[in-house]
Symmetry: C2
Subunit: 372 residues, 2 copies
């Protein structure tokens, strides 16, 4: 069965919506945040810990897995689910974002993208058809179409050309995608920061009639208000009965802002990456645990948090672990940040149910502050 | 209550013995292996995972904790038990081994050792009295006396002088040690690879009448048969009603060889260190999981193992994690190696009970091979 979205409730005062996304590996309450497991592991976490923090679905990266250990090996292991021992839903990106980030190492044609591995310089060629083959080997519940994610800022002319190619590639993806019962292909709306291009892209993407739609190419350097404008102009052109996924976004304020505008799914490396560097998110805002002022602070990271870290360890101890480069430090901060975001999402879902997401946002920002 | 050793059974055919060591934080079945938590964390492990693999007691390092985060901070946190959230027994070494390993960075006098921090070059001075003060702040159940661990090879004349100073330092430690109800001071037998010095050291150390005795200065480069000879000549001079701890030893064969000669406690960074580098111990010998021949090996590390890693993950997946430098790789190999050693110790204890430790050793070596 392809994924199916059930709209449970629309917020009275905003575009926010509460839903359920049914997938072959389980049901996801939306809006949902997906932790990122780039190399078939959410960095520092075990699958059991991911369940403990409440992860309903994780994302993994096609480009990285293609490079190492190779999609054929993962297929042999029973797909990503078997390989990494994760029995809940998985979404794989298409490698588009990573390939285009390689800059001088890649060359785009209508046929696809030639690129060199960031690891050993070996040459590879991704086409929409080949990416579908790779993603089918990986076996995720949701697979993303091969798109071009343009950088910011970029000339409108190029953005338009690129967006149109992305639509052509989407059609080739759809045609090449075989395993439609177990894997659902999502199309990606592009169009940079140009409202008319976003609308055009949304319409053309929706014309392909897919089980879900993503908004890509945002949070790549543009101001937050532009990102929000782009979401606002796109969402009305996406069907109500399909999930909407805002790619690469995961700061708490953007999760709230996105939800307010009708987004159902998010992903981002932010919570796990800043965790390993010793920055944690708390109900009172971000906290750099390496700082000397936490050396003798025997309180938990966040007194309001229910995670394993906050129930068992002090800021002083975690600071010591991070300062000395101990693995347990990265583990404890990662557990906390991921749990913190799951709790933000839980709060968002409850606020939608109670029709008070705007006051939830105001209360949250008052305490947490607004990330610039 | 100081620690108390209960001798349960002596092996009929060897010097091995089964016992129980009662400590303020719980009872330890001996012979026992102690995982090492140098910086108030057993690298890559959480306290819960340590319990899952069956760790009865862990060791932590006075020198490292003195340098970072400082013993006063740990005292404020409720000692090491509170600081790292570990409620089972802890043993702290005295920093002697680390300080003497600093080589050009330290200067020994009768009063103590002046040394420079390996981190920032700051000067410090360890005396037996100061080390007792530090170890009392750390609050471990068992604290080691400040000794000099001579390197190998070393002139007999120097070894004798050093051993005699270690005895004088032990007397100063005993005099300075205040918290005798909650912390038990162990003396350390030295004497290099010289039988007569080992015997003299054992006698003089035992004269101090302490709750336990260690054999130090072995496994520092000498051949294994010499190490075994030194254990054999020392043990008869140690009282039967006190625990015997062989310091810094932890390869499976040495655990068996030491147990055969009447040792009750062991510690070593080996299982955790090699784990992080991708070497795992199995019932069939060591296995370098990074090697290409495990790339498509979907079996667990060790089919006979009952650890979390072996129950849930394949060699292929663990190899991928280790090759890509993922934290979960180090976690999974560490869990496995520590569980493996706990199972070796369990096997040793059962073999003592059944009076067949020699055949246990022969069977083990036949499958595992003998570490050179």
């Amino acid at each position: 069965m392809p994924v199916r979205y059930e709209l449970i409730k629309e917020c009275k005062h905003t575009g926010a919506r509460l839903g359920k996304l049914y997938t072959p590996h389980g049901v996801i309450d939306t809006p949902a945040f997906m932790p990122v497991g780039t190399q078939a592991t959410v960095k520092a976490m075990s699958p059991d810990e991911l369940k403990d923090i409440g992860a309903q679905i994780i994302l993994s990266n096609t480009y990285h897995l293609f490079i190492r250990p190779g999609h054929k090996l993962i297929e042999e292991a029973g797909g990503l689910h078997g390989f990494m021992n994760w029995d809940r839903p998985i979404l794989t990106d298409s490698g588009g974002f990573q390939v285009f980030s390689l800059n001088e190492l890649r060359k785009i044609t209508e046929e696809g993208v030639e690129f060199k591995s960031h690891l050993d310089g070996t040459k590879h060629f991704f086409t929409p058809e080949y990416v579908m083959e790779i993603e089918e080997s990986l076996g995720a519940d949701i697979i993303m179409a091969f798109d071009e994610c343009v950088s910011y800022p970029e000339e409108k002319e190029y953005v338009q050309k690129s967006m149109e190619r992305t639509v052509r590639w989407l059609k080739r993806c759809k045609k090449a995608h075989k395993n439609i019962e177990e894997q659902s292909l999502f199309g990606i709306v592009q169009g940079g920061v140009f409202e008319d291009l976003r609308i055009e892209s949304a319409k053309k993407t929706v014309d392909c009639d897919l089980p879900g739609y993503a908004i890509g190419g945002l949070s790549v350097g543009e101001p937050k208000n532009i990102m929000n404008d782009m979401i606002e102009c796109t969402v009305p052109h996406l069907p109500k009965d399909k999930p909407r996924y805002l790619m690469g976004v995961g700061s708490p304020d953007s999760l709230i802002d996105g939800s307010l505008r009708g987004i159902d799914m998010f992903d981002c490396v932010l919570p796990t990456r800043i965790a390993r560097n010793g920055t944690v998110m708390t109900s009172q805002g971000k906290l750099v645990i390496r700082n000397a002022n936490y050396a003798e602070d025997f309180r938990p990271i966040d007194e309001e948090c229910d995670c394993y870290t906050c129930k068992n360890f002090s800021r002083a101890y975690i600071r010591h672990l991070i300062k000395t480069g101990e693995i347990l430090g990265a583990r404890l901060t990662t557990i906390h940040n991921l749990r913190f975001l799951q709790n933000v999402m839980k709060g968002i879902r409850k606020a939608i149910l109670d029709d008070n997401l705007i006051s939830f946002r105001d209360d949250f920002f008052e305490k947490y502050g607004y990330d610039k």
